[in-house]
């Protein structure tokens, strides 16, 4: 499925849009990590919590749990949220 990548993470992907697979958000992030080593830990901490200033939207709705199911045609948008000056 299509995944939109924020500018802060394009040092890994070198583009703003990529493709990844997974039946859940957790699986999708594993696939992103496989393709772009290091990218997952910048978004998700060692306790599997989405980091404070990262937001992930699935078809326009904010995902709060990594176990959220995904469909093959879903669109995932990763956003760098406001973090001050």
């Amino acid at each position: 499925m299509k995944v939109l990548i924020p500018s802060a993470l394009r040092s890994y992907t070198e583009r703003g849009e990529t493709e990844a697979r997974g039946a859940t958000l957790a699986a999708l992030l594993v696939d992103l990590e496989r393709q772009y080593p290091g990218i997952r830990f910048r978004m998700v901490d060692e306790q599997d919590r989405i980091r404070r200033h990262i937001r992930i939207f699935v078809n326009g709705e904010q995902a709060r749990e990594l176990e959220q199911p995904l469909g093959g045609n879903d669109e995932v948008i990763i956003v760098q949220a406001l973090s001050g000056g």
Binding site: Q47, R51, I54, S83
Partner: protein, 394 residues
């Protein structure tokens, strides 16, 4: 951190001694810079920014190979990591496994590393070994030059240590920290660590067991805090003298101290500082060849703790006799209306003879104190808030 011992010449000697140039490594809230000095340390070439926009907590050159750099970095949005360069910053590669706490058991609230705060290379003979201290307090080790990191010793998960560490509200404003990781140059199993808060600790068996080292240290008065409990201790910066590894100095939240082993009782040497200046501050620097000489950069610790240069007049203070007396070093520094804050990693010395000091402030200025701090001049202005200053000899 054990600094590289030995004398470095600042210019070509008549016998053809190789020129050793000084490199000053500056970590800031918005990136990192390398300042390359000429042989006389009079002019400086800026190399940077590296990682513009990243919060870089510490930037250290491996003294064992003279070319590997480690940078502890995160951004406002992204999680923490370590970047490595093996060509003095021409190119960087991210650590394959940055410091991270163990995943907690299901149903338990686990900790996550907010940022790596302190990087310390191992001994000369323990090539490729590095240690890292994090916020919140965690101790990590890399066996491979900073490529992969894992939790080290019992510190991170031991219930007693966790109690001493407290919560994120018990530490420094931008998060409680584990810092001042010191490896005894004579024995790689002999380690010191410090925690803000959480006190100073020593291991003689490679981190398997630890002893607290807080005797003699004062705690904040007026609240009934028990000085026997590490929780109430806030060491800001601990340094070991390379020329006498049995001597340590410490700038603490509650004064300046010296410890001569095997004693386990710190002596408050800051009592001999001028009363109007006090003995509060963050960094502490020791002389690479003289264990009686050390420097501090005092901050205002009165009333609401401004943590700025007392009276708006920045100055370093040096002791030449192990803390019996102190002399003010402010020639060339602003004489008034200079409200500097100098953080605990923001003062360093090079290894030349005579050595120079380097100070970075929260206003983004980098200064050098030539002739061991006697004459100060500004190297750089208008940088982001400076988090750390280190030196290396190339």
């Amino acid at each position: 951190m054990a600094r590289k011992a030995g004398k470095a010449t600042a210019h070509m000697g008549r016998t053809g001694t190789r020129v050793r140039r000084t490199l000053v490594l500056v970590a800031t809230r918005k990136g990192a810079w390398l300042y390359h000095g000429d042989a006389a340390r009079k002019t400086w070439r800026a190399d940077g920014p590296h990682f513009l926009g990243h919060n870089v907590s510490h930037l250290v050159l491996d003294p064992r190979d003279g070319k590997t750099l480690l940078a502890a970095a995160k951004t406002g949005h992204l999680g923490p990591t370590i970047f490595r360069s093996t060509d003095l910053g021409k190119s960087w590669k991210e650590a394959a496994r940055p410091p991270a706490f163990a995943k907690s058991a299901d149903g338990k609230e686990g900790r996550s590393v907010d940022h790596t705060f302190w990087l310390a290379p191992g001994r000369a003979q323990d090539r490729d070994v590095w240690y890292a201290g994090t916020s919140p307090q965690g101790l990590f080790r890399s066996p491979d030059g900073g490529v992969t990191w894992g939790p080290y010793s019992i510190v991170n998960d031991d219930p007693q240590f966790r109690e001493w560490m407290g919560t994120v509200q018990d530490g420094t404003p931008d998060g409680p920290k584990l810092h001042s990781i010191i490896v005894d140059p004579r024995d790689g199993r002999h380690l010191y660590i410090a925690m803000s808060g959480g006190g100073v600790h020593e291991s003689t068996d490679g981190g398997r067991t630890w002893n607290t080292l807080i005797k003699g240290l004062d705690v904040v008065e007026g609240f009934g805090f028990d000085p026997a409990k590490p929780t109430f201790h806030d060491p800001h910066c601990v340094r070991l003298c390379p020329s006498n590894p049995d001597r340590l100095y410490q700038q603490n939240h509650c004064g300046i101290y010296r410890l001569d082993r095997p004693s386990d009782t710190w002596v408050r040497i800051g009592k001999s500082m001028p009363k109007e200046i006090g003995d509060i501050g963050f960094p502490m620097v020791v002389h690479p060849r003289d264990p009686d000489t050390a420097w501090v950069f005092p901050m205002d610790g009165t009333q609401v703790w401004p943590r700025t240069s007392p009276g708006g007049k920045p100055a370093a203070y040096v002791t030449r006799n192990g803390g019996k007396t102190w002399q003010r070093l402010d020639a060339g520094l602003p004489k008034s209306q200079a409200w500097w804050t100098v953080k605990r990693q923001c003062m360093a010395a090079d290894a030349c003879d005579p050595l120079a000091l380097y100070v970075g402030n929260s206003g983004g200025e980098l200064w050098t104190g030539r002739e061991e701090g006697k004459r100060w001049s500004c190297i750089a202005q208008h940088l982001p808030e400076i988090y750390a200053v280190e030196t290396a000899q190339l």
